[in-house]
């Protein structure tokens, strides 16, 4: 896992890495991914799922309902005139 890829991955993941971190993580990840290579020879499966037990067809009724008052949730956020404040866009 070379340095260039780690930089790109850190970029996508929105992590600013120091020089030291870049070195260290490149080494760690190379070691880890080398070990993960055994997945290449692992058996495949016809079965499919994102969960270890089958989670299927769980639906919710279309009934509006708010369990928690909105202002309770907003009380800890940085707000201005009911809007939530965020960083610059452009």
């Amino acid at each position: 896992m070379d340095r260039e890829i780690v930089e790109r991955v850190a970029h996508i993941a929105h992590l600013d890495l120091t020089e030291e971190e870049l070195e260290r993580y490149s080494k760690d990840l190379s070691e880890i991914l080398e070990y993960f290579q055994m997945l290449d020879i692992a058996p495949e499966s016809e079965e499919f799922g994102f969960d270890p037990v089958e989670v299927a067809d769980v639906l919710r009724d279309d009934i509006p309902d708010m369990e928690i008052p909105a202002d309770a949730l907003l009380s800890q956020m940085k707000t201005y005139n009911d809007f939530v404040r965020g960083p610059r866009i452009s």
């Binding site: 896992m1 992590l15 993960f36 692992a42 949730l73 965020g86």
Partner: protein, 440 residues
């Protein structure tokens, strides 16, 4: 039936062992029972930080369902227990709030990531602890602290209010010094919750407890464990045989793929779950908003995520990237199904699979600091298989080596928690469990 329960020792014990990240100031309380919850379960009354600095200040507006159900049953939440940041770790050494110390030897780890929970269960009187397991974070600390720990089937307990590590792997469970607590409290926190769809496909938990009469020990599981663990484990097998439980060695060749498959799935999911932590809406929010959003997010995340969190985010972002996802993420999903199928095959002829819980007793802190990331991942090779397959499992103390507890782990098929609950009680009656000396 409520009674007055004293909490006056809590503060002193916490300062000695670093059990809690938040705790009650009450000295005594009138309640049916007292419990603690791992700090990745949201609680209205306490800050919930999941062991991370990035969530400093987050006081959720809602209780996690397991906490609500315990409270509804008359429980008093005494505090939130210390843990590895977001569950990333095997020794609770990755907490931003101090490291929990093992009650049998304070120079050693409590295990992780539910280290605080296991410690609380081991040293607080009449205390039941809610823990969470993703790759073994209930079993491991239970084993290192010499207590019982049950991890139910994936989907048995609602995860509403659980701060995500891996959505297809996280499970809320129970740690306690007493087997009876597992039987009493697991049904309370279990059951369908419409707020968590994955909890809505479970069959009812069996009321009458069946007995484990046969166990299968995979050869792959005893390869690479330390001598002292091996000794304790073999004595335990003898004791089981004397309890008329059949013990047979079997082969489970797919187990060797469980670590890579687990870490790929877990970190892939975790890297998406942690994307939301960016200095807006909760937790750390004090950055400079005139920065462009990409830079603002990166600066907060880089500053407040710990080392292991960053490593796992990088790993998990990579394993699902275009060009790599098929080889890692998609393959790992398939390998999980292979492991599940292998377990199901064994369960056709045996009530449970049995292995040691951890390959060694709790290590010293200075030894842990010398371990590489890969080495600590590999230490999970016994707890990861039931966790990746979502099968329920129970760790029980089964021996002691130089004063440190050794644990063993029973694994049953999906939804068969009753077999584990009865085993816990049976084992408690048969085996001499030691408790740590706690001088106040």
């Amino acid at each position: 039936m409520t009674s007055e329960i004293s909490l006056k020792d809590l503060k002193e014990l916490d300062s000695r062992y670093n059990i809690f990240t938040s705790m009650t100031a009450e000295e005594s309380v009138d309640a049916e029972f007292v419990f603690s919850a791992k700090d990745n379960l949201t609680s209205k009354d306490f800050e919930t930080r999941a062991g991370s600095r990035i969530l400093e200040g987050y006081t959720p507006g809602f209780d996690a369902t397991p906490i609500r159900r315990m409270r509804d049953a008359g429980g008093f939440l005494a505090g939130k227990t210390n843990m590895d940041e977001f569950g990333f770790g095997t020794f609770s050494a990755n907490s931003a709030y101090g490291i929990p110390r093992n009650p049998f030897d304070t120079n050693r780890s409590c295990g992780g990531s539910s280290g605080g929970a296991a410690c609380a269960a081991a040293i607080l009187e009449n205390h039941v602890a809610l823990g969470v397991s993703t790759g073994g974070s209930i079993s491991c600390p239970a084993s290192f602290c010499g207590v019982f720990g049950i991890t139910p089937t994936y989907g048995r307990v609602s995860r509403y209010g659980l701060i995500d590590y891996g959505n297809s792997l996280d499970k809320v469970g129970i740690l306690s010094a007493k087997a009876a607590d597992l039987t009493k409290y697991l049904p309370i926190i279990s059951g369908k919750d419409h707020r968590d769809p994955t909890s809505c496909v479970q069959p009812d938990m069996r009321r009458s407890l069946r007995r484990i009469r046969s166990v299968a020990v995979p050869k792959e599981a005893i390869d690479g464990i330390s001598e002292d663990v091996m000794k304790s484990f073999e004595s335990a097998l003898e004791l089981l045989r004397s309890m008329s439980i059949d013990v047979e060695y079997v082969g489970m060749p797919s187990l060797k793929y469980s670590i890579p498959a687990y870490y790929v799935i877990a970190t892939s999911e975790a890297s998406t779950n942690l994307a939301r932590y960016c200095g807006m809406r909760y937790g750390q929010q004090e950055g400079d908003l005139t920065l462009k959003f990409d830079d603002y997010f990166s600066s907060i995340r880089s500053k407040y995520f710990g080392d292991e969190a960053k490593r796992r985010i990088l790993l998990g972002t990579f394993t699902r990237m275009v060009g790599y996802a098929d080889r890692y993420y998609n393959k790992a999903l398939q390998v999980r199904q292979v492991i599940i199928a292998e377990y199901k095959g064994i369960f056709k002829t045996h009530d449970a699979v049995l292995t040691p819980t951890m390959p060694f007793v709790s290590p010293r802190f200075d030894d842990i600091s010398k371990m590489s990331a890969l080495q600590s991942y590999k230490a999970d090779f016994l707890t990861v298989p039931p966790n990746i397959s979502g099968t329920p499992h129970l760790s029980v103390p089964c021996g002691y080596s130089e004063g440190m507890p050794v644990g063993m782990q029973f694994i049953t098929d999906h939804w068969n928690e009753d077999l584990l609950l009865s085993m816990a009680t049976e084992w408690e009656n048969a085996f001499d469990i030691r408790h740590p000396e706690v001088k106040l």
